[in-house]
Subunit: 189 residues, 2 copies
């Protein structure tokens, strides 16, 4: 059931870093994005994949993690992503990418979830530094970085509290709580 997969597909930020992900697996995930919808069928997205520790180490320093957890600088060594898929916008194909990268990211993460993996869509990226680290040609705009691995944390969905705070938080057991608005709050007509 897609519903089960969507519920299981949480944003994970701590991983069993030693559980490697093969390049073939990442290609299968990108293939899911390839067959997903694209505005005007333009297909302006390109992808960089990484599953080698050396390449991963070039990517990790340029990502920001979990803005609401002020005391947590991001995953420590051993808990970092085992792989990445970087979604690029090819400005030779289009100057705007609409929400194509959202569609693609969701397809990839649902595919990862089905394989027992998990990940996080990272939008807070030091783009210029990452482009330099990986020698990404300037014709490509960095849209999103998907961090992937075997999840090493528990994430639970809960209701937005009465005062309406949507900030996720971690309890003393390191369980990550994500408040979601109710269905009746978001259907307005």
């Amino acid at each position: 059931m897609i519903r089960d997969l969507i519920i299981k597909n949480r944003s994970y930020r701590r991983f069993f870093e030693e559980v490697a992900i093969e390049r073939r697996t990442l290609r299968e995930l990108v293939d899911l994005a390839r067959m997903s919808a694209s505005a005007g069928n333009c297909q302006p997205l390109k992808y960089i994949i990484s599953c080698e520790p050396q390449k991963n180490a070039l990517i990790f320093p340029h990502l920001a993690w979990a803005g609401y957890l002020e005391d947590w600088p991001g995953p420590c060594e051993g808990e970092r992503p085992a792989a990445y898929i970087i979604i690029l916008g090819d400005t030779k194909v289009s100057k705007s990418f609409g929400c194509d990268h959202g569609i693609a990211a969701q397809s990839i993460l649902l595919g990862a979830t089905e394989k027992g993996l998990g990940g996080c869509i990272v939008g807070s990226v030091q783009r210029a530094k990452l482009a330099k680290a990986l020698n990404i040609p300037s014709v490509y705009e960095i849209l999103l970085v998907l961090a992937l691995g075997k999840p090493r944390e528990t994430v639970v969905i809960e209701r937005v509290a009465p005062r309406g705070d949507i900030k996720y938080w971690r309890d003393s057991e390191s369980v990550h709580h994500v408040p979601k608005r109710s269905l009746d709050d978001i259907i307005v007509g």
Copy 2:
């Protein structure tokens, strides 16, 4: 398998309009979007759902269909969507929506596909006219309209031809062909 669902989830533009979709079904689909990722967990999206012929008739005239099929003005009566989910950005919550609506749209359409339905993400919308027709408060930005129904056409994926044209086309049997770039064309590193 998510791969099968993603392949089956094509953009359908002709439907068995007489096959109604219940409001409950639309709420289930929005619930899939509700539990999907949102940048910073802000959840700025709101939704309007429609499955009544009168309300559908207020929406349909403000949508543009299949830009590449110049001789086809859109689905005729009897082949029009049986329902719609309009994705709004709530500017009280956020001024920018990133690609949240892409993530939400993909969750909704995969859910619809699993239920034997299909749809199309319509981004070419006469927004001011639609807002007026449905009395949508100006605090909401219309992001996307998802047209839904029981598909009445065959859509096939094929390889982009050597000259690289990504325009979809319809053959003499009204089969809709969608050229997709190859995996090796889109993985650039």
